[in-house]
Symmetry: C2
Subunit: 446 residues, 2 copies
């Protein structure tokens, strides 16, 4: 693999005790490890052992309702990743933070600080928060309508980017007299629909210009936000054709916003259930879901995703089954993914339960997992994946020990870290200051 080859990207989710709801109480594990820093440190170290590009956490600023499932979101991601950045070199951090329940100055500053401390290893995954339980922790007002949240998210990201580029990097010889002036630290004087922010930021421009932006767009407004701002696009994409179509659409929209579509990296979610044989993997998959067998898994899935009435598990699914749920106010990603899969492939419910547990799921041997990764990547359908393992740390350990070496021996995944910043690793351009009449703020002597 040479530096100019296209290359596969892999990030590992280190949320809570794992992707499986049952992972907190999985035999042989410490049940309360979601509340133990050393647990996350171990997961990040494993990801580093596997030369993975980044670790990922999603976020939700409320205690989830389901108290039989692992608490998916507990530690604050900025604080957790700052600690991990001090302890683990090289690895990138895909950090989820909401544009609905933060102030842009505060968040811009926290992320700029983390990017500086980590030496340019930060990726901000912007979410607009979709849950009334979150809203209830931030005032008496109900959750804003989706359109408002996305307009706010767009303005939020624009303000944050301006703040990140508002101060040049203090580099080179010591300046005479003034440490900064109007040409090196500029006010932004933003006055918009949602925010009034004077600036400049009190943290200088970082080692990679500013953090890389990630966005998971599923609804029309979400897709448009991703097309406007995202360097990395994270999405639930269950079928190869559906993923291809999605990638074409997000890049088409990006081009319409004047962006180079070749700089967008598509990283669908990928949930893996690994075992020595496919039969063992299927059994593990059922056990992780607390289902006695495949029929139980099917019934559970139908219940979980609101598939009412009797569905023949071996009949081809009608995409209309999922269409009716797309208009509601919650997250549309997972339901839309079912719809798009059924609209582009002939798939039965029996097949679907093995292929989708929210994200694209692969249940099989390490070779099966590696082949599934390479299949989409080689076809140009995905640039990589955000990998969810059911039980942390044991399944991540297995992924690193048994799947990654196959990818490396196939020549599609690196065996060592090369680029110092995550922006360079993803081969993304450095941002340029867009304020007219001011000098470019690209970092000097990085």
């Amino acid at each position: 693999m040479t530096a100019t080859d296209r290359r596969l990207y892999l990030a590992a989710s280190i949320n809570s005790t794992g992707w499986a709801g049952s992972s907190w109480s999985w035999p042989g594990t410490q049940w309360n490890r979601f509340n133990d820093y050393r647990h996350y440190l171990r997961a990040a170290q494993l990801a580093h052992d596997g030369v993975l590009d980044a670790v990922f956490v999603s976020d939700h600023t409320a205690l989830q309702k389901d108290n039989r499932s692992r608490p998916l979101h507990s530690f604050d991601p900025t604080v957790l990743f700052a600690a991990l950045a001090a302890a683990v070199p090289d690895i990138g951090f895909v950090l989820t933070a909401s544009s609905t329940y933060n102030a842009p100055y505060n968040l811009a500053r926290r992320l700029a600080t983390l990017d500086a401390i980590s030496g340019g290893r930060l990726i901000w995954n912007v979410v607009s928060s979709f849950n009334p339980d979150i809203a209830a922790n931030f005032g008496a007002a109900p959750l804003p309508p989706r359109a408002d949240r996305y307009r706010r998210a767009d303005e939020f990201i624009r303000v944050v980017k301006q703040l990140w580029l508002s101060w040049d990097r203090p580099a080179g010889d010591r300046p005479e007299g003034e440490l900064w002036n109007e040409s090196t630290a500029r006010r932004i004087d933003h006055h918009g629909e949602f925010f009034d922010v004077a600036g400049p930021l009190n943290v200088p421009i970082g080692p990679q210009g500013h953090p890389v932006i990630c966005q998971a767009g599923a609804s029309d407004a979400g897709l448009d936000l991703a097309a406007r701002h995202a360097d990395l696009v994270y999405a639930s994409l269950l079928g190869k054709q559906a993923a291809f179509d999605y990638g074409v659409e997000v890049r088409r929209r990006a081009a319409a916003h004047g962006r180079d579509p070749g700089t967008i990296r598509l990283l669908p979610g990928l949930a893996v259930v690994i075992a020595d044989t496919r039969e063992e993997a299927n059994h593990r998959h059922e056990a992780l879901n607390g289902a006695g067998g495949e029929e139980g898994l099917i019934a559970q899935f139908a219940n979980r995703f609101g598939l009412t009435g009797t569905i023949d598990p071996d009949a081809v699914l009608d995409p209309a089954l999922f269409a009716h749920r797309q208009q509601q106010d919650g997250a549309v990603g997972f339901i839309k993914a079912f719809h798009d899969l059924a609209a582009t492939e002939e798939v039965t419910l029996r097949q679907l339960v093995r292929r989708a547990g929210g994200h694209r799921t692969v249940v099989g041997t390490p070779r099966d997992i590696a082949d599934a990764i390479i299949d989409w990547w080689a076809a140009g359908v995905a640039d990589g994946f955000i990998v969810h393992t059911p039980v942390l740390p044991e399944d991540l350990e297995r992924f690193v020990a048994e799947v990654v070496p196959i990818l490396q021996s196939e020549g599609v995944f690196p065996t060592e870290y090369r680029e110092p910043t995550i922006r360079e690793r993803f081969r993304l351009p450095f941002p340029a200051v867009r304020t007219p009449g001011t000098p470019p703020a690209v970092p000097a002597g990085r």
Copy 2:
């Protein structure tokens, strides 16, 4: 020194490049180190070498106006301290965060995460933010009036404490079926003047119950807030009598709020200028301030603190000189400290400039510094100090190498870390849950 002896506490400020405005460009230093994580890591490691109880940063969420002085506040304190907590054991963290420009749920969660990751080493220094430059980064509204900010701060702290105690620590055997329930994770359903917060927090109760609270109260409203909530009280106190009076007052008010005044630790700020001789120390003091000599220092001081007209530098100061500045909307701490000193001691301007650069200042030999520390501590006027050194890291290195050993040889300061949490180190009681009808949430099996 035995475990039951009263003991001296010392925290070191690691703000920016040092206490002196000139520290960024001080000869022999790297001018842009305020933007380098390794600089703060080095300072925290030095503090640890000195067995200091904690490191401290103040905060200000705007770029300061004075561009010839070191930028006092740059990196976000939660992110910086999370990284340091992963890298440096034992040391506590006095973290400043505003109750005016944060949401209580978000801040409670970040601080709870940091307390968990650090193993119970966090102290939250609550500030209500007093600067219009900060306000301009958070919307078009002007800075709220002082009284509103303090009412908001009081409600903010009450909400944050409730959130911190809303979920017990998941400890002991694995629970059956449900990971939590209403008796282990309680909604708080707060509806107040400023906040509506449902809870529970999504981070369990921490290793020390919750972070220790620190507050710097100078105005009447600030003093009252400290008396209601603060375990540690940080203040600018320039004279021994003024400090004694302040301690009596804050403890009297705490008792009036039903608190045990014996659990309050008073830690005034202490700025030190260390040299081998007093003469050298005086010269260093002048050089740090960019003054050619003592007369220049006096003129600079008069100008900085708005002392108009001609003042005989060798005449006893009239406290009325400072009284007129106490009613304004900004921070009243430093001006009030001058007033209280002049009201309780006969002091000239020539003496004042050596004793006060904002905080109590001692300019002298390591023995002079140690004696000044022991003097107030032994008299029960202070429980310890938050020490500001003019140039970081060199003056902190000197403090640790030359002042701390004197304090240790005098038997007033420990030679090793003993208590795992900062709450135990400060000999403070663990918080108890106050919600009627629920079991106490003190941590089990800490």
